[in-house]
């Protein structure tokens, strides 16, 4: 449920770090809280965002929810499979359900994020 090598945000996003790039998605907890995802709105490749900006929208049957980036940078890839198969966010949130890849402008921002262990603790405190 909590891949060890990922980092996590308080908004329930995860990032997987590959050098100066991150792959980003929403956590298992977030997809479960949303319920069946039926629509995903993605940013355009090349768009620049600051940390905590909304980069896209995920809609379940009942809810509309923003996706935030926990790091600043430029979108270098989007998961186009989600346009036709938004359910991937539910089925495989840490794998095929990824949302975007960003080229970070400040890798120091990663220090603000939680480890798997810290995120697990954070969820318990929120509950």
């Amino acid at each position: 449920m909590f891949p060890k090598d990922f980092k996590y945000s308080r908004e329930h996003e995860w990032v997987k770090i590959e050098g100066t790039k991150v792959r980003l998605g929403i956590t298992h907890y977030a997809q479960d809280a949303l319920g069946d995802v039926v629509f995903v709105e993605l940013p355009e490749v090349g768009t620049e965002f600051a940390a905590n900006d909304s980069i896209g929208v995920i809609e379940s049957v009942k809810a509309v929810s923003d996706v935030y980036t926990p790091v600043s940078g430029k979108v270098v890839a989007i998961n186009e499979a989600l346009l036709d198969s938004p359910e991937l966010v539910n089925e495989d949130p840490y794998g095929d359900g990824w949302i975007v890849e960003m080229e970070m402008s400040d890798t120091g921002e990663l220090d603000n994020l939680m480890t798997a262990e810290e995120y697990q603790k954070f969820l318990k405190e929120e509950a």
Partner: protein, 362 residues
């Protein structure tokens, strides 16, 4: 928060619970899409015990009911039911409800949970001599078994031939040995039944139905799928399609407004509205661009605001993004292209026929 007699059963089933108009209710058990499809193809069991029940009895009961509602209860036989709006003098809708005729001078009104107190007060304000009005909501539990296999399942544990209960009729049936009022009615667009019974028997009958329908694949269904099911069938939801600011003629409920009936509250206003032609109409829409219409989103035509979305969703049956919207009547033409404002962007949509979904009748 208020709890229905089945609250514990929902927790035992690990339902996701929400606050629904002051009631702690299950929004889903396994997932809205799966539950929705199960009702369309097999059957689903709903706890709708939060609904309100108001009993009207006495030698002038019919007279009072006729004054309150826009439909005509005088044509009801005993053991027959009807759907009707209940209006304000200005034609706005107080609530939409079912009226069951239990006897010549005895009616049961089934009203929306969130409106129960308001409705009871409204009815009390119009009370007449010779009629007893009682809010019996806390003495009645309600289950709904809906779907193409509903009759087959319920028949196994019923002491009467359910095929004899026709659409919008009811009877007194022992279900799993317990006294129930069973009507062939529902809020999903499928065949099925609504079952009224004593709260202390609700849990037993709930589990008996789930057990009886095991083979057929019955499952409990939350309010999430109840909403998408009713929406595809274009059954209005009070607070969305209906309100004190919307008339039944605007909402497309003309067939439930009998203007040839003797005086009833709202008649004059509705007659005027009909003669002048309604200014707004409820329409169905289908998105052409990518996006989901949601309640309160603006509807535009060539950039000019013409109305708002009342309900919108991904449709599990059609697998399209669709909505209902209340718009200026002059734009309410099937095929007309309109725009829906989604997060600041105007997305293309077109007006389509409703209901979006209609079951095949055997």
């Amino acid at each position: 928060m208020k709890k229905t007699p089945l609250h514990k059963a929902h927790l035992e089933a690990n339902a996701k619970m929400v606050n629904f108009g002051g009631w702690h209710m299950p929004v889903q058990y396994v997932g809205i899409l799966e539950e929705h499809r199960n009702v369309r193809t097999k059957a689903g069991l709903f706890d709708v015990s939060h609904m309100g029940e108001i009993d009207i009895k006495g030698n002038r009961a019919l007279e009072l009911v006729q004054k309150l509602i826009t439909n005509d209860a005088s044509k009801l036989a005993v053991k027959q039911a009807l759907y009707t709006p209940m209006c304000l003098p200005n034609g706005g809708i107080v609530d939409d409800l079912l009226v069951y005729r239990k006897g010549e001078n005895h009616f049961l009104l089934v009203v929306n949970a969130a409106n129960t107190d308001k409705d009871y007060q409204w009815i009390e304000e119009h009370a007449i001599d010779g009629v007893a009005i009682a809010n019996i909501s806390s003495e009645v539990a309600q289950l709904a078994l809906q779907g193409p296999l509903a009759e087959q399942i319920l028949q196994k544990i019923s002491n009467k031939d359910l095929s004899q209960i026709k659409f919008f009729w009811f009877d007194y049936v022992k279900v799993d040995g317990e006294d129930c009022l069973v009507s062939r009615t529902g809020y999903t667009g499928e065949d099925g039944f609504e079952i009224y019974l004593a709260p202390d028997k609700a849990r037993k009958v709930w589990y008996a139905i789930l057990e009886a329908g095991k083979e057929e694949g019955v499952m409990p269904i939350g309010l999430g799928a109840r909403d998408t099911l009713r929406f595809e069938a274009r059954l209005p939801l009070y607070g969305n399609e209906l309100s004190e600011e919307i008339s039944p003629l605007e909402a497309g409920l003309e067939m439930f407004v009998k203007l040839d009936k003797d005086n009833f509250i709202g008649k004059e206003a509705l007659e005027k509205q009909k003669a002048a032609g309604v200014k707004r109409k409820l329409v169905g829409l289908e998105m052409l661009d990518r996006g989901i219409p949601r309640t309160h989103y603006k509807v535009l035509k060539d950039g000019e605001e013409i109305g708002f979305v009342t309900s919108g969703s991904f449709s599990p049956t059609l697998e399209k993004n669709i909505g209902l919207a209340l718009i200026k009547a002059e734009h309410a033409r099937i095929g007309n292209k309109i725009e829906i404002q989604v997060r600041g962007r105007n997305l293309k949509a077109k007006i389509v026929k409703t209901p979006f979904y209609k079951r095949e009748v055997k």
